[in-house]
């Protein structure tokens, strides 16, 4: 690469930010990564160039020149380089490398996962829009899937498929699109089981006085597209009122309630991308200083306003979810262009409303739909390439944060864990995969990313076993209830996410992760369950072989057995991944799970050994017959033991859940 002047610098010190401890090593610069190898421990630190957000070159420091790298993953690296010339070369190279000029210079176009078993095509077709529509039960009597945007003629930042009222004519849609900012007309984003929908769009070009008959008719059509048509629908403007009013002067603005009939208009006051950008920067500044006093810290967090913004986003989403789920009214959501705040709130509402979006597959599909297909401008917002700094904003980070807040309040309702959020967040910024490049579906098609780069989804699907939340209710109790998650309205519950923003500052993080133990525990229980099933099967086999028409006991057993069996049928596919982990020599497995299981494991061992010798015993030999009957008679006893263990386990599980809920609350 032409930008790399010095590919290797020796005698570099990597300084730990808080302790001021440092390690000496060698710094390598490759086309895609910055690599630091610790001379003593050979520990390697890899940094993708695109993760670098700012490079700072503080003036003279003792012992050489310093280079401070602040990363999009909230890591801060300080290098001390002995030669000023080297340092300057590095600085200018990195400046160029971290901000490529075109999309095609990004790492994704050269990335090749040699070591991993990942094919280029893998993952690209995983979450198609059509599938998501089908999942919601579309088309219905009132809603259809339209191909009108197949050539991006209706709106160039929308996906090819859009879901619109079945009575909407192309003319009506074209008319509506013409009246909306960036032609982003109202299209359906989520259909709830009670027929109410969330519809998203951009602001109307209402200005001070203009109107569009088509748009008015189209919006009213949306309201009526229900079995039980309601007397009014909500239009949620996620902006503060003052911003919306200011937009009117530019010929944009908001729907006039005089001309749009039967709507209830609400301004819900989420601040714009610039406010969010400043807010997170302030928060991160506060994060860097870990020696400050409690009140300085609280003050800094408060003045950054980040928690307030997250709370606000959650509250707006809660309002939408409640309107749809509880009141059964349709909601039309927009902000200015309908790709930042609208994406956040629509996606969060969907998570609150539908259990499907709390599974791994559902969640990723939701991101594919609400963020990628509907044109959240990832290239601009994440600053993938060199461009206007004012276009960048941590909108997606904020969304991830909000999801984490939900996970914290409802620890048993999500199939996935924090790790998924971290991986997702980091790879949105890493540009290692093509998935999050480009600003909209059309742009991604133009660069033919699906053919030239790898998909993050494919990569993530290979590691689903690390994403499983062991406390996930649906997998454990096989309940399929459609419970809504409505977070509390008070601001007390929104908490600073230390594991995200101080992720690279190990000293601050909790020292132990209970989830490993829980996962371990759960695997053990599953193993036991399977063992019991196997034993039962063997017993039944034995009984049929012997022709024992048995007493009430087996009936009881069958009854009991049916529960775990049902269990297995109902468990969604990812559990299989989890079961796989039991056989894999995982890091978790190294730990001894004994303490929690002390009473059960020793007892559960013998039954496995007991019946196996009896199995091959042929019933032909009369002499051993007695023995067989004896062992067969004994095995229920053993089974009962295992069952008791199992019950104890399950009881423990219940405790575990309540305990974890308690902990988290």
């Amino acid at each position: 690469m032409e930008f790399i002047k010095t590919p290797k610098v020796e005698n570099v010190r990597l300084i730990e930010q808080n302790t001021r401890n440092s390690v000496e090593g060698t710094l390598y610069l490759t086309a895609s990564h910055l690599i630091f190898i610790d001379a003593a421990s050979k520990h390697e630190t890899w940094l993708v160039h695109t993760h670098i957000q700012y490079i700072d070159k503080p003036s003279i420091v003792q012992g050489g020149s310093a280079l401070k790298l602040r990363c999009k993953t909230f890591q801060v690296l300080i290098f001390l380089i002995s030669q000023e010339r080297d340092c300057h070369d590095l600085y200018s190279s990195l400046l160029k490398l971290s901000k490529p000029e075109t999309l095609e210079d990004l790492y994704a176009f050269s990335y090749n996962p040699r070591a991993e078993n990942l094919k280029q095509q893998e993952g690209w077709d995983l979450f198609s829009l059509n599938n998501d529509f089908l999942q919601m039960g579309l088309p219905t009597r009132y809603w259809k899937i339209s191909r009108i945007n197949n050539e991006f003629g209706l709106c160039d930042t929308y996906p090819k498929l859009v879901c619109v009222p079945s009575l909407a004519t192309p003319a009506l849609m074209m008319g509506s699109a013409a009246f909306r900012s960036k032609r982003r007309l109202p299209v359906m984003s989520y259909l709830h089981k009670n027929d109410a929908v969330i519809v998203r769009c951009s602001q109307p070009m209402a200005g001070l006085n203009s109107r569009s008959i088509e748009d008015e008719a189209y919006v009213d059509l949306i309201r009526r597209s229900k079995t039980k048509s309601s007397d009014f629908m909500y239009i949620v403007d996620t902006r503060p009122m003052i911003n919306a009013v200011a937009n009117r002067a530019q010929g944009k603005g908001y729907e006039n309630t005089d001309v749009y009939e039967n709507i209830k208009y609400l301004f819900l006051g989420i601040d714009n991308i610039h406010v969010m950008r400043t807010s997170l920067n302030k928060l991160l500044e506060a994060c860097e200083d870990t020696t400050c006093s409690m009140s300085t810290w609280l003050e800094a967090v408060n003045s950054s306003g980040w928690l307030r913004h997250v709370h606000n986003v959650l509250q707006v989403s809660r309002f939408i979810a409640q309107a749809v789920g509880v009141e059964g009214r349709s909601v039309l959501v927009h902000c200015s262009d309908g790709w930042d705040r609208t994406a956040q709130t629509c996606a969060l509402s969907a998570i609150m409303l539908n259990t499907h979006y709390r599974t791994i597959d559902g969640f990723l599909a939701l991101i594919q739909k609400e963020w990628l297909h509907f044109g959240h401008k990832f290239t601009h917002r994440c600053g993938h390439i060199d461009g206007d700094g004012r276009e960048t904003s941590p909108v997606f980070t904020q969304f991830i944060d909000a999801v984490w807040q939900l996970m914290r309040i409802f620890p048993c309702d999500f199939q996935f864990n924090e790790t998924l959020l971290f991986d997702l967040h980091d790879h949105v910024y890493s540009c290692q995969f093509g998935t999050f490049l480009g600003n909209c579906a059309k742009e991604r098609q133009e660069y033919s990313l699906a053919a030239r780069t790898y998909s993050l989804w494919g990569w993530m699907m290979k590691r689903t076993h690390t994403y499983i939340n062991p406390l996930y209710k649906a997998a454990m109790q096989n309940t399929q209830d459609d419970n809504m998650l409505l977070p509390p309205t008070t601001p007390h519950f929104v908490r600073f996410w230390v594991k995200m923003y101080n992720r690279h500052n190990r000293g601050l993080l909790p020292r132990q992760n209970p989830m490993h133990s829980v996962a371990n525990f759960k695997n053990k229980t599953d193993e036991l369950k399977n063992k019991v099933l196997e034993l039962k099967r063997q017993k039944r086999q034995l009984e049929t072989q012997l022709g024992i028409v048995s007493d009430p006991a087996p009936v009881e057993l069958v009854k009991a057995a049916s529960t775990p069996q049902m269990h297995q049928q109902l468990i969604p596919s990812p559990l299989k991944d989890e079961e796989r982990t039991t056989s894999q020599p995982d890091l978790i497995q190294l730990k001894d799970p004994q303490p929690t299981m002390m009473n059960h494991t020793p007892q559960s061992e013998p039954p496995k050994r007991e019946p196996s010798p009896t199995k091959p015993t042929p019933p032909i030999q009369p002499s051993t017959d007695l023995a067989v009957v004896f062992t067969a008679g004994e095995s229920p006893d053993e089974l009962e033991h295992s069952m008791a263990d199992l019950i104890v386990d399950e009881v423990n599980h219940g405790d575990l859940i309540s305990d974890a809920t308690h902990l988290a609350e």
Binding site: T291, P488, V498
Partner: protein
């Protein structure tokens, strides 16, 4: 210790009580409880211990008379009572009954346990047991019965562990020299042979009085070659100020082997004010996010927690990493001193992180050590009374343990619910454990024979499983928590 979560629950409850007021036979007052029961067939009953009532607020209007009972566990109950007279009567009775001063009239003396217990909690933890354990590690100590009749120190237990080489006469002298007679005694013996001691402040006064026996006693702990630290839980300013009232601190000149560290912790009064502000902030329904955060900040509660934790970490570091013994004292040595010494042991000693060990720790470092529970917990945060002796020292300690639990979820045998229960019982309880201010008072009121111990309850077969952390994995050794403000947050259990 219930803040937010309970708040939500209470909201529902409150609504329920309000809407179903007619269904409720107003209430019946017993000697120790306020009992509400519904007549709508649900047979729900609410029992509120009088002592748990912090204050009663009257809201009389034309059509209804509302009484709001504010409890020490931060719950609020609202009752609507049709008759004005009734309401007034109930109010005044509850107010009188909630502030009974005399221990022997209180509920623990009337309570008869409904659970089976194998062990009597009062007999569970003895200084002799502790001493036998200690003897296995070191022969430098002995049990002194100097305080058998509480002459040397009113707030100490009858038997304490002191250095072997110091005789009772010297101790007597040292006791005279220390605030309230709280002479230096052993608090914790670490595996590396270093110790944590605690005492009251020396009464040096402005004239720099000294006491040879006290100096000898403290120096002998160290042995010839070692150095030690004296952790004063006051700032150096307030320690100096204390001299004008006869108190003071050890001078380096008289205690040459010791280095002084001042780590300013707030007094119990300030802590109480902080708690009041915090609870107020938690109960405020109307706050938005910004206000809530600034209220949280101005309540200063998290600072208290952080400072207490870092003081304990400091002591733990001195003992474990630097191999130095530490003497901890503040002014009286019954609040901050105990917070620090108890917390240090939680950090250093894995045994203290087990259920039994933790109970033993509380028994030894709080109850026997003379933390004045009766005075400190007389009122809680929702009282209208001006605070005098009240202070949530114990609650702060429990909050610190909670923070440790968050950072080390596997290291504790008990869960956070257990900590809440402890806090609740410290304020109002059917058990005698937290009654009175010192062992002497408890002896006078015959607490041991006439009431039931909370420990018996906690260790009984029915109750024990409720408070166990089921993912406990005993971990040996010291735990080093993070005390950066980023890692601490509000305990909302």
């Amino acid at each position: 210790m219930s803040k937010e979560e309970c708040k939500y629950k209470d909201q529902q409850l409150l609504m329920y009580l309000l809407s179903a007021a007619e269904l409720y036979q107003p209430n019946s007052l017993t000697g120790h409880h306020l009992i509400l029961y519904s007549q709508d067939g649900e047979n729900k009953e609410y029992w509120i211990l009088h002592k748990n009532v912090d204050s009663v607020e009257k809201r009389y209007s034309q059509d209804r008379n509302a009484l709001i009972f504010k409890c020490k566990n931060f719950k609020k109950y609202q009752l609507t009572i049709p008759s004005f007279e009734d309401a007034n009567n109930i109010c005044s009775s509850v107010e009188a009954l909630s502030c009974l001063g005399k221990p022997s009239l209180q509920y623990p003396y009337f309570y008869r346990p409904t659970f089976k217990f194998e062990e009597d909690g009062f007999d569970l933890f003895h200084v002799e047991h502790e001493f036998t354990d200690l003897c296995k590690k070191s022969d430098q100590w002995r049990i002194s019965s100097i305080n058998l009749h509480f002459k040397a120190c009113k707030s100490y237990p009858s038997q304490v562990i002191v250095p072997k080489l110091i005789d009772d006469r010297a101790i007597e002298k040292s006791a005279e020299f220390r605030q309230d007679g709280r002479f230096p005694i052993l608090s914790y013996y670490h595996t590396n042979g270093r110790v944590v001691m605690r005492c009251g402040q020396p009464m040096t006064g402005t004239s720099n009085k000294r006491c040879k026996e006290d100096e000898k006693m403290i120096n002998i702990i160290l042995g010839p070659a070692h150095r030690g630290y004296i952790l004063d839980t006051r700032t150096s300013q307030s320690a100096t100020n204390a001299r004008s009232k006869g108190g003071g601190f050890e001078t380096e000149f008289n205690y040459p082997q010791w280095r002084k560290i001042h780590h300013g912790l707030q007094k119990h009064k300030v802590q109480q004010e902080s708690l009041i502000r915090l609870v107020e902030a938690c109960h405020d329904q109307s706050t938005n996010s910004e206000k809530w955060q600034s209220k949280l900040e101005s309540s200063n509660w998290l600072s208290l927690v952080k400072e207490t934790l870092s003081a304990a970490c400091l002591v733990a570091q001195c003992v474990d990493k630097e191999g130095a013994s530490v003497l901890v004292h503040g002014s009286h040595g019954v609040d901050c001193t105990l917070q620090v010494t108890a917390l240090t042991q939680v950090l250093l000693d894995p045994l203290c992180r087990t259920m039994r060990g933790f109970l033993c720790l509380i028994d030894r470092e709080w109850i026997k050590a003379g933390h004045p529970f009766a005075s400190r917990c007389f009122h809680s945060a929702l009282s209208n009374q001006k605070t005098q002796m009240e202070g949530p020292s114990f609650t702060v300690f429990l909050d610190c343990v909670f923070q440790l639990q968050q950072q080390f979820p596997l290291a504790f045998e008990f869960n956070s619910r257990f900590l809440c229960e402890l806090s609740r019982h410290a304020y109002a309880s059917q058990f005698g454990t937290f009654l009175c201010n010192s062992e002497m008072e408890r002896r006078q009121h015959k607490v041991q024979t006439k009431t039931v111990s909370l420990w018996s309850y906690f260790l009984s077969e029915e109750v024990l499983p409720l408070h166990l952390n089921i993912i406990y994995e005993s971990c040996n050794g010291v735990i080093w928590p993070s005390v950066a403000p980023h890692s601490l947050y509000l305990w909302d259990g």
